[in-house]
């Protein structure tokens, strides 16, 4: 076996001959480099799920503070929620360095928008559309920003707005949203509270916040790349952006753990 990591998964030279970079012209800068240009193939330091839901007066969104280096819990103080402008938040999961890049793009966007005194504020749909264009442009260059994001706020009619966009430029909207593992673990729980758009009217802020907190706890139980320390943002017309940091998942009970079988040193 060829143990050179750069050769993993590649056709064997002995069988197929060496890689002909001239055919690909993959890297004009490098001249006759042995390898074509390689862009991001995988995220390095990662943040896990972002979860969010609408309620009748606004939206609530949460993400934990963990930055994982593979399976290693490397950083416990990563902020993955970013307020933008007056009434919008962007929650980002995936690669942390790309997250930092995106957060700077969003800041630049906000600064630029404040230059105009024309009374046209930058709202959630605009920011979502912008992010989608950025993601799609990067993936079209085969150099994606390795993230999934949720944008929350209010739409042009002033109704709660929640929309997803990811590294492929894929976008969709739903009254409850989750990225990453949360899509499997949190979505079913959130959908018990809000199944479809018309249910949003029935849900108040308190209910929504409790549902999100409950999901953060479940995610900590079942997602090995998660943390019980997290941030949560609630946006309402009345109070604007309320940013809560360093929240803890309370009343944890790990009794269920003893019933989990099938890994480690246990005898099944």
């Amino acid at each position: 076996m060829d143990h050179d990591p750069f050769r993993w998964g590649r056709p064997n030279d002995a069988t197929y001959g060496g890689y002909n970079t001239k055919i690909a012209h993959a890297n004009p800068q490098a001249g006759n480099a042995a390898m074509p240009t390689m862009n991001t193939q995988q995220p390095i330091v990662t943040g896990t799920s972002v979860i969010a839901m609408k309620f009748k007066d606004g939206i609530v969104i949460a993400a934990d503070n963990l930055g994982s280096y593979g399976a290693l819990a490397r950083f416990d103080d990563v902020e993955r929620l970013f307020p933008v402008g007056e009434n919008t938040v962007v929650g980002i999961s995936g690669d942390i360095s790309d997250l930092q890049y995106i957060s700077r793009l969003l800041e630049d966007l906000e600064i630029d928008n404040n230059y105009d005194y024309d009374g046209h504020s930058l709202r959630a749909p605009h920011i979502h559309e912008y992010l989608q264009k950025v993601f799609y442009a990067r993936r079209s260059k085969m150099d994606p920003l390795w993230n999934s994001t949720i944008v929350g706020g209010f739409d042009d009619e002033g109704k709660p707005f929640l929309k997803y966009v990811d590294l492929l430029g894929v976008k969709y909207s739903a009254p409850t949203l989750a990225t990453g593992f949360g899509a499997y673990l949190a979505s079913p729980i959130l959908r018990k509270v809000i199944f479809e758009e018309k249910d949003v009217e029935k849900v108040d802020e308190e209910t929504a916040r409790n549902a999100i907190k409950e999901c953060m706890k479940v995610l900590y139980y079942r997602d090995a790349r998660s943390l019980d320390k997290y941030s949560m943002i609630t946006i309402t017309k009345e109070k604007g952006v309320v940013f809560e940091k360093n929240l803890r998942s309370e009343n944890q009970s790990w009794r269920f753990a003893k019933d989990i079988k099938g890994y480690g040193t246990q005898k099944v």
């Binding site: 105009d116 005194y117 024309d118 046209h120």
Partner: protein, 282 residues
């Protein structure tokens, strides 16, 4: 008069001529209510068999411009605005705000006033738009200035139109779209030379506003609006413009050289303008 105090360099001199070019163009008038903005323009044809020069250009569903001066320059600028409006729609999924549009143009024009090579744009524009902050009207000049007005008139003999606007602008705020168009046509009519009148062929009208996409009326569509006027000829002729007796049978087009007496007339008006200004400034 030769002042020793003020001077400038060659790249700025060209702006002077650019500003002159606006006065050579036929008049356009713009006005706004809170909910609607209107442009009306006087078109010229270079010769009897030629078509009339387009004066109003749509930029987007909510945005348009009227020009006085070099029409090709206006086309370049309107193409630029269309690009910007499309970009805003594409990237942010929102319309380009009217103010932003006017500022983009002003900043673009400023570059040509400060450096050698190239020339300033030889066209003045009135920009109207309806966006989330309501209806707006901006006047753009090649010097790189762009200011928001309730009503504005540029082009040949525009001072007369401006006088009408200054007299009536307080009524606009609560006027209907229809009333606003009639005000616009009245102002435009006041800019006419003695032997001219507004016809469905030489008049363009555009309106944009609440629940109204940018709509351009030309030719037959104009008649309905002209019918609302008490007169399509300049009714204050003889009073203010008694000496204004040019009877040129064919008006020049926007790019062409204006007749001498036409130019003289507009130069006189500039004098009037400054006097007016002093009065209104008190």
């Amino acid at each position: 008069m030769r002042s020793r105090r003020r001077n400038t360099n060659l790249s700025l001199i060209k702006v002077e001529y650019a500003l002159e070019a606006i006065k050579q163009g036929s008049a356009v008038v713009g006005l706004t209510t809170k909910t609607h903005a209107v442009l009306v323009a006087l078109k010229r044809n270079a010769e009897e068999l030629g078509s009339y020069q387009k004066k109003i250009i749509k930029v987007d569903e909510h945005l348009g411009i009227a020009l006085a001066g070099l029409a090709p320059d206006a086309r370049v600028l309107s193409n630029y605005l269309r690009e910007q409006a499309l970009n805003q729609k594409m990237v942010f999924n929102r319309p380009l705000s009217t103010e932003k549009a006017s500022i983009l143009l002003a900043d673009k024009a400023q570059k040509n006033t400060q450096s050698y090579g190239g020339r300033p744009y030889g066209v003045g524009l009135l920009i109207i738009g309806y966006d989330e902050t309501g209806a707006h009207l901006f006047e753009f000049q090649p010097s790189g200035s762009s200011l928001e007005y309730v009503g504005a008139a540029i082009g040949a003999r525009s001072q007369a139109g401006r006088t009408y606007l200054e007299r009536t602008f307080e009524e606009y705020a609560n006027a209907t779209k229809e009333e606003l168009i009639v005000h616009g046509l009245n102002a435009l009519r006041d800019t006419l030379a003695q032997d001219k009148e507004l016809t469905k062929l030489n008049t363009s009208i555009a309106v944009v506003g609440k629940d109204t996409e940018f709509t351009l009326y030309d030719d037959d569509d104009v008649q309905q609006w002209l019918d609302r006027l008490d007169s399509v000829a300049n009714n204050r002729r003889g009073a203010a413009a008694g000496n204004d007796d040019d009877d040129d049978e064919d008006e020049n087009n926007d790019e062409g050289d204006e007749k001498k007496d036409d130019a003289a007339a507009s130069a006189e008006e500039e004098g009037v303008k400054d006097e007016d200004k002093m009065e209104t400034d008190e």
